[in-house]
Amino acid sequence: MGVEPVRRCPAGHWGRIGPRRVHGCLLLPALVLAMLFSPGPALLAAPNPVYMHQPDAPAAATGEPSVTASAGTAAPGAEPPVLTIATWGGAYEQAQRAALFEPFTARTGIEIRVAEYDGGLTELRARHADGGVTWDLVDMTMSDTLTACREGLLRPLPQDDLPPSPEGAPAHRDFIPGALTRCGIAHTAYATVIAYDRRAFPGIRPERVADLFDLERFPGRRALQEAPFGNLEWALHAYGVPTADLYRLLSTRRGLRLALAKLDAVAHQVTWWQDGATPARLLEHGEVVMASGYNGRFFAAMADRGAPIEILWDGQIQELENWTITAGSRHPAAALRFIRWATGTDALTRFARHLPYGPARRSASRRVAGHVGTGIDMQPHLPTHPSNDRNAIVKDVQWYARTHDRIRAIFRRWLRARAPTPVLRPDQ
């Protein structure tokens, strides 16, 4: 810690140093002294910017685990904290463990405990209200991040000190546009897609979103998420509404009515899923012929288990996934340290070799190569690949951030009204 200030305040340059700089030069040694005399906990509770000057910052830029740096993580004598990370489970969690959590622990000695998280803010709100927040980090969608940030559930994050790309491009230019928000640092672009069973339709195959709703040409059950997201967009897109107009039209009563009418037509053939691992499993077991789901999960089923699944990239809905720190986190400094490391070029590249989610950094996108297990080239499986990106729907995260509760209520009301149908289904 002492190295930096000394380099910044060479005696020979006093003449060129302004008053503010002098102030800073006096402050930093003072802080160093203070830290030396007050042990570990003080360091971990220190405000984020101080933490950013940890000596391992340059190592984080390359993303290489640095053995020497780990010694300086916590002040001498302190027990390293245990970070609790709420994330999405299944193949996704396994990829994160292998690509991020285990290397991070090995490098820093900071243990990581994983908590189950299925999206939404209900649980976080409840825990925040009664002061029982045990999560330090949450892997959150962009729309949830924006809402949670507005509601004060998350801690604002400093962004000016994220490591640059290996080529030296500053972070704000290496990250794709919109990746850095007040309370979140995006790590991957995931896509919600429609996938189908290759065995189901001999001779033809679905090509457009509209085919999801075409029971005549593509008969069979569908698995759709029990949530408005995705379903409403696709239903309206199936009428021929261009992707850019979807959310403007869904903002009208007429648009919502149209979308729900389209869903009505297939609802009797729908199995509703909640957990992101379900749709791939249903497809794999032949229980449904088409399903919505996350592209990474479908890929995992194809790559790891050879499932006969094909992804329909038309109308894929992209959204950024963020690392966020809860407002009630007890280890914000360690959590921030994790984020800075896990959003570095190397960590992002490593993760994308497990699951085909598009890295939020350009430098990482360029580096993604073969799948760790099978060696399959990951590039054509990334949602951000140009051939997959031709007719993508960009999720209007601001819109969802403001309307999610209302849209969800409308959707639930509609679903309740439909409820008898699936029950009647076996008698038909």
């Binding site: 021929g240 850019a244 903002s251 009208t252 007429r254 309307t403």
Partner: protein, 578 residues
């Protein structure tokens, strides 16, 4: 409008004109794109756009906001218009008038105020169009460019057309339509000298838009097919019927403008009153608020709006637009016409589906055909409208449907009410363009500079012999009788005096020509030419307006030379090869 640029100022070099066009195109392109984006931003901010309304979390306040925003917008617009001499925003008719009468310039100050007031109107949700203001803004900037280069009036006209073309090219991302619109609506001729700079301007605007602004196309249609060949007959018929819808729309707009002063609401408050009415109506029919892009999209989807609702929205939008424009909001007629036309087309599509026993009609084709059928007669530009469809949709089959529907639309429209709303508005202001450009030019040119002092004046009581003597001495064949008060009492010719010489010595007055035509001093060249048809002598006597005092005479030679020169200038401008 009194400071006419000299008619025969040297023409700019062609390179300079093209450069001027490109420069105007770049500036207008940047401003047009900003203008469109500013409307979007204001609509979001002021809770006009459905997306912003949906995202607004204080649901209880939404109704109040819906009424108050257009009302306050109207108040601002009313205030802004007080600073414009005519008390109204300028628009495309002013552009057309400036070019067609070769007054050749659009004043900057009211131009800027008009752009601002239309931005407020559109931003606060008034049911008006955005392209009229853009066309006027483009024309104004083009005119400014021409003045900076001290161009003559022919080049001034070209510069105005450049601005107009760039505005349309940028707003619709349709450079071809921009070029054609400028020629069809503004210039009304296809001279090569004008084409080059106008094309440069349209391309510059388009490129500027593409480079600097990331804006989705205004109306994107993925794919459309015409299922049956007989549908072209339907589109033809829709063209004629659409012209009638357009006529109703224009009559409503003009009628509201006449009605407004009779309501006794002070001009300052009229837009605010219209805004309050509009906002209140929008609580039941939200589709009438603003530009209505969402409703336009729904009109292209089969089954999205049931036919009775289509008809209701059509009528409501028509009346709302008439109300807003008539009561002083600032804006165009094009965008509302697009929506009205799309609704009309969707109604036709539903009718066809009903008549043919539920043949699945491709609704988007009918909506587009309806759009064209209503819009083209309103703005008087069939070709430009067609190209807008082509460039917006990129679909050839849609364009052929539009072609079928536009074929009869403009002709029917012209029979029912006139070439376009702009021409009708100008005619009401005393500028008739129906007989073409040369008439407008002659009407716009005063005779004052051609009037000469009367060469021989005679008191009415002068004897016949004295009159002959006086004319003989002056070497003239005509004399003008002027009484002691300077009043004109008639014209005598030497021939008439000679004919009466033998019949006793009467007064010169008795020989006065009974039907010699007279013009007043403030007449236009057009009126003088018209009067001169019955002229057998040398000159037209010119008297003061509203009185009998003889101001001078307009010699026939001078009159016919001015006539020929004016027509010649028109011919040169319209056939100028560079």
């Amino acid at each position: 409008m009194t400071d006419h640029p000299p008619p025969h100022r040297a023409e700019l070099s062609l390179t300079l004109v093209v450069t001027l066009g490109a420069g105007v195109g770049l500036v207008v392109g940047a401003l047009t794109a900003s203008f469109v984006l500013a409307i979007f931003a204001l609509n979001d901010w002021l809770l006009i756009s459905p997306r912003a309304r949906m995202m607004f979390e204080h649901r209880g306040w939404l109704a109040a906001v819906t009424v108050v925003v257009p009302m306050l917008g109207g108040l601002v617009v009313g205030l802004l218009h007080r600073f414009i001499a005519e008390g109204r925003a300028h628009g495309p008719p002013d552009v057309i008038a400036a070019v067609q009468t070769s007054r050749g310039r659009l004043p900057l100050h009211p131009g800027l105020l008009s752009a601002l007031s239309s931005l407020v109107s559109l931003g606060s949700g008034a049911s008006v169009g955005q392209y009229g203001p853009l066309v006027h803004m483009g024309g104004t900037l083009g005119s400014l460019g021409a003045r900076l280069l001290r161009a003559g009036r022919a080049d001034g006209n070209i510069a105005i057309a450049c601005g107009v073309a760039a505005a349309i090219a940028t707003a619709f991302k349709a450079p071809l339509a921009g070029i054609l619109f400028a020629h069809e609506v503004v210039l009304r001729h296809f001279a090569l000298r004008a084409f080059a700079p106008v094309a440069a301007a349209a391309i510059a605007g388009y490129v500027m838009e593409d480079l600097v602004f990331e804006r989705p196309p205004l109306f994107h249609v993925a794919a459309a097919e015409i299922l049956h060949r007989w549908e072209y007959l339907v589109f033809l018929a829709m063209g004629a019927a659409g012209a009638l819808v357009a006529a109703a729309y224009l009559r409503a707009v003009l009628g509201a403008a006449r009605l407004a002063p009779r309501t006794r609401i002070p001009a300052l408050l009229r837009p605010a009153a219209a805004g309050a009415v509009l906002g209140t109506a929008a609580l039941w029919v939200p589709d009438i608020l603003g530009i209505g892009a969402e409703t336009l999209r729904f009109a292209t989807i089969a089954g999205a709006i049931p036919p009775p609702e289509l008809a209701l929205i059509l009528v409501a939008k028509l009346l709302a637009t008439a109300l807003c424009l008539g009561f002083g909001f600032s804006g165009g007629v094009f965008s509302p016409a697009l929506l009205i036309g799309a609704l009309f087309g969707a109604l036709c599509g539903n009718a066809v589906a009903l008549l043919t026993g539920g043949v699945q009609a491709t609704m988007v084709v009918y909506a587009v055909a309806g759009m064209v059928a209503v819009t083209a007669p309103v703005i008087g530009a069939p070709m430009a409208t067609l190209l807008i469809v082509f460039e917006l949709t990129g679909s050839y089959s849609l364009t052929t449907a539009a072609l079928a529907s536009v074929a009869l639309a403009n002709l029917t429209g012209a029979r029912v009410f006139g070439r376009s709303l702009f021409d009708v508005q100008l005619r009401r202001r005393g500028l008739d363009l129906s007989a073409g450009r040369s008439r407008a030019l002659l009407q716009g040119q005063p005779i004052a500079p051609l009037v000469q002092p009367a060469p021989v004046t005679l008191p009415p009581g002068m004897s016949n012999a004295d009159a002959i003597d006086l004319l003989g001495r002056r070497g003239r064949a005509e004399g003008y009788l002027v009484d002691a008060d300077g009043g004109y009492r008639g014209t005598v010719t030497l021939a008439a005096l000679e004919a009466r010489r033998g019949q006793g010595d009467g007064a010169a007055e008795d020989a006065a020509e009974p039907a010699r035509p007279v013009v007043t001093a403030d007449s236009s060249l057009w009126m003088a030419v018209d009067q001169a048809r019955n002229l057998t002598g040398e000159a037209l006597p010119v008297v003061e307006r509203g009185g009998r005092r003889l101001v001078g005479v307009l010699p026939e030679v001078a009159l016919s030379r001015a006539h020929v020169e004016t027509l010649d200038a028109v011919r040169r401008e319209e056939h100028g090869g560079g």
